[in-house]
């Protein structure tokens, strides 16, 4: 077993400190290779220890890696605000999946146009799209869908699958959001019967 850090350590560090995830099924070859490097031999353990010394927790999820710190420069209110945004986005994309009888989850391949078409035939989905406010300006539905996908892409939850056909793929990092939501306990007595 080697004790030398992989030469990609800097790249890994730079990716992760941006708040990005390194997923097993990234379409970007560079990131995919980083995942393979981390996964190979005992590199994960080495990096884990190394990063811990400089104050980063190197966390291994279900086929993805990310960074955490013991404390970050964000208040709970700010985090909550950010979380609300992701709930809105996820709710929309999950509803899209429901609309075509498919689960919007890791591995799903979709195009902005697929979603747009569903919005046109499913008014509830269109309303969900309309209620999401990312900017103050009014956007066309397809532009807005593209913006939402871009949000997911920039947070490395989806990746461009086929640029020519405008296809995107949900990658393993999306498990992070699922995991986060799964840990939330909701008090039962407040449950509505409408759900």
């Amino acid at each position: 077993m080697t004790k030398i850090l992989p030469i990609e350590t800097q790249k890994i560090f730079e990716k992760l400190t941006k708040g990005h995830f390194i997923s097993y099924d990234n379409e970007d070859i560079e990131i995919k290779e980083l995942y393979q490097v981390i996964d190979a031999n005992n590199n994960y353990e080495l990096l884990l220890e190394y990063f811990l010394h400089i104050g980063f927790q190197f966390i291994k999820g279900d086929s993805y890696y990310y960074f955490a710190k013991s404390e970050i420069n964000k208040s709970t209110e700010d985090k909550l605000k950010s979380f609300y945004k992701w709930i809105e986005i996820m709710n929309f994309f999950l509803s899209f999946g429901e609309s075509i009888n498919e689960h919007f989850s890791v591995g799903k391949i979709f195009t902005p146009n697929d979603i747009f078409i569903q919005c046109k035939v499913n008014n509830a989905l269109m309303e969900k799209l309309n209620t999401i406010r990312l900017t103050n300006s009014i956007e066309k539905p397809l532009d807005k869908i593209n913006r939402l996908i871009d949000e997911l892409r920039r947070a490395t939850f989806v990746d461009v699958f086929n640029d020519f056909r405008d296809e995107y793929k949900v990658v393993a990092a999306y498990h992070y959001l699922e995991q986060l939501i799964n840990t939330i306990d909701i008090e039962v007595e407040n449950e509505d019967t409408t759900s």
Partner: protein, 400 residues
Amino acid sequence: MFNFDTIREFIEILNRERKVIDFLFKKRKRIVSYDNLLSFVEYKNEKIEYLLQEGFLIKSGNIIELNDELIDFFEKFSNATEEINNEYTNGLILDLKTKIEIFTEEKRPDKRNEYLLRIETSLRKIGKNIIGNINQIRINIEDVYVTEKNYKIKKIKLDEYSRKANQIEELITNITKFLKSDEWEYFVKIAEDNVLIYVIINLRKDITLAWINFADIIQKIIDFHNQMRLQSEFYKKVQKIKRLKDQHTLTNNSNIEKILTNENSIFFANQQKFTTQLSIPYLQTDGAFFLIQRVIKNLKQIKSGLSVKSAEDILDNQFIEKEKAISTISSAKIKQLFTESGGELFDFIQNFNLFEEYSLEQKTTLFCKIASRFSDELIHNGEFKIFDDIEYAVIRKKQI
């Protein structure tokens, strides 16, 4: 029915068209269209037509199948696995029981041996079929789970495979029960045949293997069902969280605040920035020299307070009001001046000193304008004059 006269002819047809028949036999569980077959008969339609006519193939719509009797024949011959269903299970046990009964009643040794052989073949086939079917189900389940996107269809297909798995389970149970029955043990005892014992041992081995595989498959089906259930529940949960969020009650009704307080992934943080000092060896290089110069320049700008980007100064002369003169001619004023001075209108306009820069054409236009507009105050007595190739009417002030 087949239309042939001799067995030889039949075998010859089989041999000649073995490619098509082999292909159709392999694809007997699938749908094969007419066009798929053409490549096997060198694109000669008449060959397929001949086979259809002779009853080797059956056509329904555009779908071509091998004659059922041929399929049965080949299946028996090649020991291909048969699909296990209730009918198969019941039929098999019944068949075995009948054969055993005949075997015990039969007194002629050669006939007894024939039945013993038949029983052994049946037993061999059972083991093979069970394993074959289980493998098939496993492949199908994994296939469906990965390729089928629509989860409603996925669920239907999984249920179907689950049903088939249950039928295999039933067969295994029945066979095991049968192998333990007195009837069977008695038969094994009176048969006294080593091959039979060997076949039974093999069958028991197959059954054990099948049980292990079977448990695994059931586990897989349950797992897949659970995954689908979790996905649906997840969707409901997100919707519920969204609703609570919209009602502003999420923080009160859930542990979200606590979770987020403890969640310190960089995902929620701003991008990490690191400031480091430059090394002295680096500062001694040429590359660093330009960097230092740039830094000095920036520093100077900051000191002189120019770091804030501002628009260009407004020049003083931009504040001076410019008068813009647009000269227009008031025809009423001209007319007034004309009536005061008297004389001819055309002469007056030609000689009016303000109109020096006006061309003859412009002056003429003005003349016409005044003449027409104030026609009731001016008079034309029918006299015409010529000036510079222009013939004009002599217009004077009306005498009151």
